[in-house]
Amino acid sequence: DKIRFATNWRAQAEHGGFYQAVADGVYARYGLDVSILQGGPQLNARLLLAAGRVDFAMGANTIQMFESAQQNVPIVTVASMFQIDPVIFMSHPGVGLDRFEDLPKATAFIASDMRASVWQWLKQAYGFKDQNAKPYNFNSAPFLADKKSIEEGILTSEPYAIEREGGFTPNIFLLSDYGYDSYSTTIETRADTIAKTPDLVQRFVDASIIGWYNYLYGDNAQANAMIKRDNPEMTDGQIAYSIAKMKERGIVDSGDALTDGVGVITDARMKSFFDKMAKAGVVPADLDYKRGYTLRFIGKKVGMELRPK
């Protein structure tokens, strides 16, 4: 079957598992001919999914899932490759921004997608303020120039460039350490795809999970070559840094994934996250968020044997 899968950013190690499954033929073994459509700053992968332009899309976080449920968009999350959302804040060391409690007073460079989601919760939970928010257009120069500022980032990417070009190691605050227990790098598809071809969804989810195991623990050279071909700016150093960070913090393989396999989602964690967001007013408390995901295709311990003991 021909499958189009849209990621949410340019090709990078954070998408490694999917490239791995293409590169080493796992998708092919599952009878899938997958082409990956890489995202970008303006590409709204989930809109493309809703419109039927692609068959699967990568979701960035769980708040987005709540929102599609709220808007009655028939998109369903079927798996989550990351157990930990790698979204972070960075600050300059030694300028009075070394503790998370210090951050709300600083100017915050955040991208508009974060502002529409996580930021709403941060405002309520930690007292961050809208007037401190400045747009982050994926260029850290303003952050480097203003020592009293903080910047959003992804654990596995921005700190690398800042260490190299800025010449210092920034403070890193992984938001999941502060109660932000969203899923990330999810696989989403349309409700009618699930209804009509559940088998196809299952195969895609399984093959992707295997891809991720292989990418993390197996030989990922081919996948990386593919990433670099799709995104020529990507460097080996950056990829190595990303993979190291993913492993170090167990972004993919930790928590529930250790017992039920990569990709797992649990009702309990969904509820915990939903309650936090509802409390923050990010989503209405009466939202039937359960429409937005299904546990039907995961928790089957697929590929767990690939994890080194």
């Binding site: 709204n44 929102e67 257009n137 203003d146």
Partner: protein, 265 residues
């Protein structure tokens, strides 16, 4: 005679509205007939409902955006005209300055906004972004206008040894008026665009949040009707700006310039 006049006036207003509503009706029909879900293309009626529902939020954002727009347009007009005047002084100045103006025009705001944020206060960075988008058409058109002065009239002013300043006030500026006003009409729309781009690139000026962010946010939320509601407000603002500037043109050119006269008689 007076009857004919009235008929024309009715048509003047009626026609565009008729076409406009026809287009909306077609859109509505298409959406309903094809059963297009609202997150792909919302029907006008849905957008309108949303506009009413979210009016407070959207209107306060609109005000922020319009504020930046007007500031940018004023600054762009002043700078565009000033630079055009400077350039018109001599070929030498034109050749020396124009490359910088062109460079500014083609520099992608989105790319340099982060740097602008480094060099200046956020409020100024926003203004600079919006300004950069709007000023070039004003400059170009005013330059053309200043260069298109009738040679006979130029001779007349030379004959009376008019000072450069007098030539400017009494000859070049009135001559350049039609082209300048066209530049202003283009610039008016671009200032609006500029305000939006600037907000995305450098943040809203002041405390509020402009329409740009509302649109992007609605996009992320897949709240496409709200996105269209915001876009509708932008379009209406654009039309209002254009209309106001067109009216200004008409008042200033009526009677003497071909473009503003309906007929010879």
């Amino acid at each position: 005679m007076s009857k004919k006049r009235r008929t024309i006036q009715w048509r003047d207003i009626g026609a565009p509205f008729a076409v406009f509503f026809a287009a909306l009706a077609l859109w509505e029909a298409l959406v309903r007939w094809k059963n297009v879900p609202p997150y792909i293309l919302p029907a006008p009626s849905v957008v309108f409902e949303k506009l009413i529902e979210d009016r407070e939020l959207l209107f306060s954002s609109l005000m922020v955006t319009l504020g930046v727009t007007f500031e940018a347009l004023v600054v762009a007009t002043i700078c565009g005209v000033a630079l055009a005047l400077l350039i018109a002084q001599s070929k030498w100045l034109e050749r020396a300055l124009l490359p910088f103006a062109i460079t500014l025009q083609v520099t992608p705001i989105i790319a340099i906004a982060p740097l602008l944020l480094v060099y200046m206060q956020p409020g100024n960075a926003v203004l600079v972004c919006a300004f950069l988008v709007a000023f070039f058409p004003i400059l170009s058109n005013t330059s053309l206008g200043l260069a298109s002065v009738d040679f006979g009239l130029r001779d007349l002013f030379d004959l009376y040894h008019a000072s450069p300043w007098q030539k400017l006030i009494y000859l070049r500026l009135p001559s350049a008026l039609p082209q300048f006003l066209t530049g202003l009409r283009i610039g008016g729309g671009l200032a609006l665009i500029g305000a939006i781009v600037a907000e995305l690139a450098a943040g809203a000026s002041g405390q509020g949040t402009g329409l740009a962010y509302r649109i992007v946010e609605a996009g992320f939320r897949l709240d496409i009707p709200r996105m269209f509601a915001a876009l509708a407000l932008i379009s209406l603002s654009g039309l209002a700006i254009y209309g106001a500037l067109a009216a200004l043109s008409y008042v200033l050119l009526r009677g003497w310039h071909e473009s503003a006269r309906a007929d010879q008689e």
